[in-house]
């Protein structure tokens, strides 16, 4: 990497050969505004917002397509540059409806932001605005407003260059140019909603999210997508203690800038429906509310007195939960088998860009914590159906709903001498339980997931669990306590510190250093 010295606004900036001025400036913390430029897409150079002045060049140049060369002197704030930006802003807005009050993009619209920083003038355009298609459905997740579109072609390039599905193109000419679906195509590829994220304006909006919340009310929590074991980095965005949407967070080691549609919308299934807010215990054939103390005593007694135990943990449980679950099983039972729920499906080429075949984001991590048995999950389920276990402890999965042969599983669960279900909702499986423990979902907990490739990443609590439900870690700790093992962990971080001492591949990993971007297994400093 050859260093290149350039001067931006009088400041000396060292960059590397091959970088453009827009990249060099961004690296140095100097903001050059842009719309069409996107670091993961080819250079279009069409918005003209990044025009800059370069010494010895008569015309302004676009920073996105100008290579930084030795001793180049760049001005990003000269009168000529400021005037050009203002002009571009004016051009982009003359045919724009300026309907911010009813536009879902308001609050995160680049036109709004740049208007405030680079334009701030009353419109000089008093002719009739050109009209375009409104609320055209592009696909199941994306809706288009042609009048708000600035033709930056980010969406078109994303579909050409990232998904290679080519659903959209620019059609017509001059100020009748617009984005349109190719005849007969629908924007329904597995990554379709990313075009909403990269659309800098209100032209492409999310059909699931729009009109639900004004974005300035959203609270944003960095976390990990619970959809599969790729572990895409996300921002969980909430309003009034409910998840409103997922947005991808940039992590070049995992998902780059993207998030698949399945992951993006999976929170509906994972968090919806009426919540369990009190432990339930089976009495005279029915489930009745009880206290946590009574429920935990019953679980301990039930598992202790039963025969062979199967423990099934959800792939959405964290490493810390899995570590405690394994510890608990060992404490209570002499004859047990543990597994993490796992199912695979075939993926298409486009799905493979991001998605993993499973839906168990922490499958690898939970197994490394000791929630694993010979033969894996399928084999354990076969044994369960065959009647090899007399007690089953299921956490966070509805075995009946997610199994191909529902009735066989139901019958097997019904013949158990003891079934504990720890979940957020009264699932079909929970209805058969002897004790039901109300727990928390991925959005309510802190902890770590280890993705398929061995990257340990941090989950953060985005919403508060309902009263009466307990964190899965707390449930396991209280059961361990009931079983006579005292632990005094004050935080998830402390549990991680312990497992990082005990589990070989996690040796030396430091909870604090996981940060927002995660750390690789084996990267810990081992004393």
């Amino acid at each position: 990497m050859d260093p290149v010295n350039i001067i931006i606004d009088g400041r000396e900036v060292v960059t590397t050969k091959g970088k453009t001025v827009i990249q060099a400036a961004a690296d140095a913390g100097i903001v050059i505004p842009y719309y069409c430029y996107h670091p993961k897409l080819t250079i279009a150079g069409n918005c003209r917002m990044c025009l800059i002045e370069i010494e010895k060049m008569p015309k302004l140049q676009i920073a996105c397509n100008t290579q930084a060369t030795e001793a180049m002197s760049v001005l990003t704030q000269s009168p000529k540059v400021l005037a050009a930006r203002k002009a571009v802003m004016e051009f982009l807005l003359i045919n724009h409806p300026v309907d911010c009050p009813i536009c879902d993009q308001a609050g995160e619209c680049w036109l709004q932001d740049y208007y405030m920083t680079h334009d701030l003038q009353a419109s000089r355009f008093d002719a009739r605005k050109e009209h375009d298609r409104k609320r055209e459905i592009f696909g199941p997740n994306v809706v288009f407003d042609g009048e708000r579109c600035i033709k930056c072609t980010r969406c078109v390039r994303f579909l050409q260059e990232i998904t290679h599905t080519n659903e959209l193109a620019v059609v017509n000419r001059a100020d009748h140019s617009t984005i349109a679906l190719f005849p007969g195509s629908v924007l329904d590829n597995p990554l379709s909603a990313n075009v909403v994220d990269i659309c800098p304006v209100g032209a492409l909006t999310d059909r699931d999210f729009r009109f639900k919340v004004r974005v300035w009310y959203l609270q944003k929590t960095p976390s990990i997508c619970p959809g599969c074991s790729t572990g895409c980095n996300i921002s969980v965005e909430t309003y009034q203690n409910r998840i409103a949407r997922f947005k991808p967070r940039i992590n070049e080691a995992v998902n780059s800038h993207w998030l698949c549609d399945e992951g993006r919308y999976c929170f509906h299934d994972l968090t919806g429906g009426p919540r369990l807010t009190t432990p339930l215990i089976r009495q005279e054939g029915g489930l009745v509310p009880t206290t946590w103390e009574h429920a935990l005593q019953a679980v301990y007694a039930g598992l202790k007195s039963a025969g062979p135990l199967a423990g099934i943990l959800s792939g959405r449980n964290t490493n810390e939960e899995a570590y405690l679950f394994a510890k608990l099983a060992k404490r209570i039972s002499d004859d047990y088998a543990l597994e993490v729920f796992y199912r695979e499906r075939e993926l298409t080429e486009v799905q493979k860009i991001l998605m993993s075949p499973d839906r168990s984001p922490n499958f690898r991590g939970a197994r490394e914590m000791g929630v694993s048995s010979n033969g894996g999950f399928e084999s354990l389920m076969e044994k369960l159906v065959a009647g090899n276990f007399s007690a089953v402890y299921v956490v966070g999965e509805d075995l009946i709903a997610t199994n191909g042969d529902r009735e066989k599983v139901r019958a097997a669960l019904q013949t158990l001498s003891f079934l504990v279900v720890q979940d957020t909702r009264l699932t079909e499986t929970a209805k058969l339980a002897h004790v039901v423990l109300p727990a928390t979902h991925f959005g309510e907990k802190e902890g770590t997931y280890t993705n398929r490739r061995g990257r340990v990443q941090k989950l953060n609590a985005a919403v508060i669990p309902p009263d009466g439900a307990l964190q899965d870690c707390d449930i396991f700790l209280r059961l361990l306590d009931t079983a006579g093992e005292k632990n005094s962990y004050a935080s998830v971080a402390e549990i991680f510190a312990v497992l990082a001492r005990e589990i070989p591949s996690y040796k030396g990993l430091d909870y604090a250093s996981i940060g927002d971007q995660g750390i690789e297994l084996g990267s810990g400093s081992v004393e």
């Binding site: 279009a44 051009f91 003359i94 002719a127 193109a169 017509n172 000419r173 001059a174 100020d175």
Partner: protein, 422 residues
């Protein structure tokens, strides 16, 4: 003056190979293939001082020399026959009357850059011209001038005539390449330039029909003879398409440096019907209009026209007499550019139609105070800030009409009607 470009057009059946050969046609091609290296050819054309006749006037030999010789990729020569500039119809004449000169020029340029595939991209509307080119290429193939192992030299060259779909922007060389690639006719962001990353990402030279048609003569007679014509920096001859209020409209071949006034008054017979000249656009619709007093001392060469505040461009001379409403003329051109903007980059896409709307309302008696300064400001905001020269092409004439005929525009606004045509 000896005609170079129009030397064959009055010969009967001038479009046929027989007629072309009877005038020495393809002699230059044979001479080059049999006895000249590409370097010698490039040097010869450099020495001739030939400059691109598409409008920009860039030295042809130098343009060829930018093509990397060691590139492992195929190289392409593209003949730009997408003539669409308002008021320009010189290439059309060459193609229809003397297609073999264009074909031979294409072969010569292809040889200079050692291209083995050349394209002639012709404007969609020129169906007759396309058929003439098809026929000429076919004749040249039959005669062995195009194909494998030409003149036994081992040099192979294929020529493909490709018809565009009639978009003005496809005359811009990178938009032409996008269109030729099968894509939307959008200009490409530069750099990289076509010389290294052109058609299908390969080294490419795009030359105008008129440029190429001059090559056989230059090779036949020698660069020195060509360079002896014209001015110090504008060599040889150039075609001018003269239209509008002129007694003898048509295509004229003129030695560079010829006095503009003399050209209009004598060669072209002066303003039609004995009326007075009001303005003239010297280089096609995208160039600034000049007032009669501005052309008094102007000569028809790149430098002189530029010094007068306009550009020689494509040589499309549009003459307007004193019955012309300059508001209407400006609106006419603005409407053309608003319609033809490709829509790719913001200033041109939005600005061209904005200017058109203002011109439109002035023309229709609804102009407002401040409209003229608004157009000048908008055109200034487009100028120099776009992906391709189209933005300038739309902005320059708009600004020039207002600056040079401001009284007329102001009267139009004040009286809410045309004061010229009533």
């Amino acid at each position: 003056m000896e005609k170079i470009l129009l030397r064959n057009i009055d010969v009967s059946d001038s479009h046929t190979l027989t007629a072309y050969k009877s005038r020495g046609g393809y002699g230059s091609w044979r001479k080059i293939v049999e006895s000249m290296t590409p370097e010698q050819l490039i040097n010869e054309v450099k020495a001739s001082g030939l400059r691109g006749r598409g409008g920009a006037g860039f030295p042809t030999g130098m343009k060829w020399s930018f093509v990397p010789k060691d590139s492992p990729k195929p190289k392409y020569l593209v003949c730009n026959a997408d003539e669409s500039e308002p008021g320009t119809f010189k290439d059309r004449l060459l193609i229809e009357k003397d297609p073999h000169a264009t074909v031979e020029g294409t072969l010569i340029a292809a040889y200079a850059i050692q291209s083995h595939t050349a394209f002639i991209y012709i404007r969609g509307e020129l169906t007759f011209g396309a058929s003439r080119l098809d026929q000429a290429v076919e004749e040249a193939i039959q005669a062995g001038y195009i194909g494998k192992n030409i003149f036994g030299s081992g040099y192979d060259l294929d020529v493909i005539v490709h018809r565009g779909a009639g978009a003005y922007i496809c005359g811009e060389e990178t938009a032409l390449l996008s269109s030729l690639e099968g894509g939307r006719g959008w200009p490409k962001v530069k750099p990289p330039f076509p010389a290294t990353h052109g058609l299908f990402g390969c080294p490419t030279v795009v030359n105008n029909v008129e440029t190429l048609a001059a090559l056989p003569w230059i090779i036949e007679r020698g660069a020195a003879v060509y360079a002896a014509m014209g001015t110090e920096k504008s060599k040889g001859t150039k075609l001018f398409s003269v239209s509008g209020h002129i007694a003898k409209p048509g295509v004229y071949e003129v030695e560079m440096g010829y006095p503009f006034k003399k050209f209009l008054d004598e060669d072209c017979g002066g303003v039609a019907n004995g009326r007075k000249l009001k303005g003239v656009i010297p280089g096609g619709g995208s160039m600034p209009v000049l007032r009669p007093e501005e052309i008094e001392k102007v000569n028809l060469d790149y430098e002189s026209v530029q010094a007068a505040g306009s550009l020689l461009g494509s040589g499309g001379v549009i003459v307007m007499d004193d019955s012309t409403c300059m508001v209407g003329a400006a609106w006419n051109l603005a409407r053309f550019f608003a319609h033809e903007s490709c829509g790719q980059c913001s200033p041109c896409r939005e600005g061209c139609h904005w200017m058109e709307k203002i011109f439109h309302r002035i023309e229709h008696g609804a102009g407002e105070k401040g409209d003229l300064d608004l157009i000048l400001n908008v055109s200034g905001n487009i100028m120099g800030n776009t992906i391709c020269p189209f933005g300038d092409a739309a902005a320059m004439p708009a600004a020039a009409f207002i600056k040079k005929y401001r009284d007329e525009f102001e009267a139009h606004i004040a009286e809410k009607r045309c004061t010229i045509t009533g």
